[in-house]
Amino acid sequence: MNQAGETRRELALDCFLLAGKIMMESGAETYRIEDTMIRMAVSQKMMDSHCFVTPTGIMFSPSNELATRFVRINSRRTDLERVALVNAVSRRLVSGELTLQQAYDEMLIIDQTDYMFPLQIQVLAAAVASGCFLILLGGGWEDLPFAFIIGGTAFYIVEMILIQTRVKFFAEFVGALAIGSLASLVIYAGLGQDLDTIIIGSVMPLVPGLLITNAVRDLMAGHFVSGLSKGAEAFLTAFAIGAGIALVLSF
C-alpha cells in the first residue's frame, strides 16, 4: 500500500513538472505556470506544496517529507496552442474528469507533438503582417510588395538560422541586417519610395511582443526574477534588431 502511494506521488510530481516545463517552453507567463502547478497539486491532495518558476528552470517541493524536484528548461519559443492545451488538461484534472495517469499520458502526447503551423504558412503570415503594418503606419501602396517580400524573407532567414545555430541574438541580428540591406537595395534601384516605412513594416514580425508583455505582467505579479530575465531577453532582442538596422543605415 505504501509502495503504491509512493509511485503515485512520483507520477504526480512527474506530471506537474512536465506541465510546467511545456508551458514555460511555449511562452506562458510565470504566474500562470505557478498557479497551474499549485492547483494540480491541491487536486492531488498535496496541500502545502511550493514551486519556484524561472525562465531557465522549475523547482517544485511537494511537502516537507518528500524530496524537492527540479527540471531544467533549455529552449523557449512562442507556441500558444500548447499553453492552451496544457491548460485544458490541468482544468480537466482538477475538475476530476481525468485521472492522474490519463493526464500524464496526455501531457506526454502534447510534449512530443509539433503543433506549429508549417513554416511556409508562418512565412506567409509574417509577410502579410509586414504588408499590413506598412499601410497602417502610413506607407504608400506602391511600397506594399517590397514590405511583403522583405518581411517574409527576413522571417524565413531568422527561422533558418535559429534551426541551425540556436543563437537567438545572432539570428535576429542577421534578419535585421537582411531587412536593412534589402530595403536599401530596393530604394537605390529606384523601385521603392520610402525607406523608413518599408524597414519598420518588415521589422514588425521580429519584434519581441510576447516577451515584453510577459515581462511586465510577471513583474507586476511579484515574480521579479523571471520578470527581469524576460525583460533582459526582450531588450537583447530589440538591441539585436536595432544593431542590424543601424549597421546598414550607417553606410
Binding site: V128, L136, L249
Partner: protein, 155 residues
C-alpha cells in the same frame, strides 16, 4: 483616414501574428478582433487628443479587456488573445527613428524619440495591468454575488 481599410488591415495583421505565434486555430478570428479593437481605439483616441501615449494606454486597455472576456468565454489563458493585439501598438517607428538619429550623430533627436518610445511601452504595460486589476475586481464581485445567492437559496 479610411476607417474600414484600417479595421480590415489591423484585423489581418493581428490574425497573421496569431499564425506566427501559433494560437489555437479556432481562436484566430478572435485574435484578429482583439487586434482590431485595440488599433481602432488607439486611432480614435489619437485623433481626439493628439497624444500618442494616452492613446496607446487606451488601446492596450481595450486589448486586455477584450482578451479577458474572450479568455473567460473560450476557457483559455488570456495570453492567447492579448499578444497578437498588443503588437500593433508597439512603438516600432519611434524606436527606429531614434536609432536612425543615433546613426546620423543626431543625439538630441535620438533621445527625444527614445523617451517617446519608452513612455509608449510604459503606457502599454499600464494599460494591461489596469485592465487586469479591473477584471479581477469584477470577477471577485461576481463570485461573491454568486456565493451569496447560493447561501440564500440554501437557507
Amino acid at each position: 483616414m479610411n476607417w474600414p481599410l484600417e479595421a480590415f488591415l489591423s484585423f489581418l495583421a493581428a490574425g497573421a501574428f496569431g499564425v506566427v505565434f501559433n494560437t489555437p486555430r479556432r481562436t484566430l478570428v478572435s485574435c484578429g478582433l482583439v487586434g482590431m479593437s485595440g488599433w481602432l481605439i488607439y486611432r480614435m483616441y489619437y485623433l481626439v487628443s493628439d497624444d500618442s501615449v494616452q492613446a496607446t494606454f487606451a488601446g492596450a486597455f481595450a486589448v486586455a479587456l477584450v482578451a479577458h472576456i474572450l479568455a473567460k468565454k473560450f476557457k483559455m489563458p488570456m495570453i492567447v488573445f492579448s499578444i497578437a493585439g498588443i503588437i500593433p501598438l508597439v512603438p516600432g517607428s519611434r524606436a527606429y527613428n531614434s536609432m536612425r538619429s543615433i546613426v546620423e550623430n543626431n543625439y538630441l533627436e535620438a533621445i527625444s524619440f527614445a523617451a517617446d518610445a519608452l513612455m509608449i511601452s510604459g503606457a502599454i504595460a499600464m494599460g494591461l495591468v489596469f485592465a487586469e486589476v479591473l477584471m479581477q475586481l469584477v470577477f471577485n464581485y461576481q463570485a461573491k454575488r454568486m456565493q451569496k445567492k447560493i447561501g440564500m437559496t440554501r437557507n
